[in-house]
Symmetry: C2
Subunit: 389 residues, 2 copies
Amino acid sequence: MITPLIKVRNLLSKNPSAGGFDAILISSVSNIIYFTNYSGFSKDEREAYLFITKNQQYILTDGRYTAAVKTLIPDFKLIEISSKFSFEKALKNLTKKHKIKKVGFEGKNISFLEHKKLLKCFDDSNHRDLDSLRSVKTSDEILKIEKACELGDKTFKYILKEIKLGVSEKELAVKIELFIKQNLADISFPPIVAFGANSAIPHHQVTNSKLANNQIVLLDFGVKLDNYCSDMTRTVFFGSAKAEFRRIYEIVLTSQQKAIQQFNNLTKRQLEKGIKASEIDKIARNYIISKGYSTIPHSLGHGIGLEVHEGPHLSPKSKDILKEGMVFSIEPGIYLPAEALALPEPLAKRRSAKEGIPNFGGVRIEDLAVLEKNKLRLLTHSPKNLIEL
Amino acid sequence: MITPLIKVRNLLSKNPSAGGFDAILISSVSNIIYFTNYSGFSKDEREAYLFITKNQQYILTDGRYTAAVKTLIPDFKLIEISSKFSFEKALKNLTKKHKIKKVGFEGKNISFLEHKKLLKCFDDSNHRDLDSLRSVKTSDEILKIEKACELGDKTFKYILKEIKLGVSEKELAVKIELFIKQNLADISFPPIVAFGANSAIPHHQVTNSKLANNQIVLLDFGVKLDNYCSDMTRTVFFGSAKAEFRRIYEIVLTSQQKAIQQFNNLTKRQLEKGIKASEIDKIARNYIISKGYSTIPHSLGHGIGLEVHEGPHLSPKSKDILKEGMVFSIEPGIYLPAEALALPEPLAKRRSAKEGIPNFGGVRIEDLAVLEKNKLRLLTHSPKNLIEL
């Protein structure tokens, strides 16, 4: 098995003059978990670094974590930081000891102020993306995501029973969260619960608005279990759905199915070579446009793992290639903003005419899938037939 | 009242050649909440910027937030970002339109890679700390923190009843979280529950270890209500506390009381001028050392508000001055690591001899307080007499 350490050491094999590095500094909490399996560090403050050379791996952290690190990360050498021995001093010592010239660091995670300090520690340094090392998952990681998805499905089944007249978005969001916590898991992001016109806001923040009859209910939530995330969206109808809603729902569902089907249309050889993420995005996107609706105002999907959003990216501009072992979402949507009604009349009319239906909200359907050797396998299994409550 | 916008515009009043700025770019989610009261943006991804010039204020975000921003942040001009109109293009347009030369940005929050892009947008730019603008709270903010503390006290009262033989650290942590969520609030950080020797790890990550008789129980948790945080720690004993524990408990409590008392020892004039945070830290710290224990392995306290840790910092090296309206924690502790037993014998013996007691865990007591015109007022009110369960 290719361990994370082997993956990162591959980056050290090239000569620095040829774009390689003598050492890699790892700072993001997700990557620290990826390399150590230890998830005790805060995301809000800089509490630890990993420093990987060709032959040795170090963890730099302060006295609060000494006991935990010694027990739980025995294969990393601990360097204890204190008010008298700063991260910078420790890094200077290490680069001297190992005769390090060029260090790769996470430019997305290192701040402008931290970078100023790092400049004093290293002769030469440059950004090196490490997140992409996480895109292809091991079977162990896939299993963890699958377990998170399983609890996600259970949560959906549970929350359907709680969708009642007069319940508020916030109450449902709290119920989703409590259900997940009662199962000793965490949420991977604050649940989105959107009623009626609010469902037209893809990243709606829950409000106290109460459910009325004949409203759309959009539910987008995820579980974090054993550090790995799930993510799913379902849109149901509270009441008896009218033709307009059914039409949109079917278009979104078909758009998703077309994207999924595309993987199974490919030959074994094409699958082995990898599929352009942008092409999958295009299939779902173009289907929605072909039906007279606006393009999806977000990407079709995103990779998921230790972070709820990570590579690969399924979007029009993505350069990512989808390969065996990648886990990602497929989540087309159609959103008809209520605010369109407030547009200058001709434009509003034009949109309405083009869309052929009133501006009343949105539909999104999202599943997670893993790309396997011969096929795409869905990890979320909640029903997708139109549910009317 | 001095609003956040007035505070930040004060930074624009100085001439750029004298260290001032023509515009300020605000990027951290906490500061975006501070300026707009809108808390819908993710902390994990860059979804919005504020751009403040002398006469105008802008919010830059993408289509997912258009509807929310228009409704909830009407006093900021919305600039909609899309795949065709990037943050960089928008910023270039703004600097051109307002003839901006020098821009201040949050160097702690802007990443190395983002900074590379910003360099192309602005003629001149530099880091400007904005977090310190939040140190002095308005009465409205203090009230919000007080409400969070109130729920924290209720949570402590509730959780005491759940401390039972055989319960696990994780189960108690989940109960704390669920109680807070059921009260429609959020946690300000993952609760720390530490039994026995684990209480010697200041930032202990909860485990599945079960409560046995005669163990220390350390509880450190916080509430987030209306975006504002609380934070408190209590250490109780499950069983009948022995003399050694009582001794340490009393020392930590006295250390905290001495720090609190110091504020009331000051004259009105001294209070108006402000108090050095490092001096308060010293009083608590030196008392603990004077009793033969190691220095506190963390700062005595931290400011709190939109973030659970923010300025002012009460630590030996802090340059912060405590002023009216500041809210901060006071949290001395003594930790006697179990791992000391695993040290080379002479050192372990020396520590034990010095400490005069077995290595059995730790005690921390933490309250939040606001510095008012004439006195320090505690915001957390849970009992601090030694509780034996």
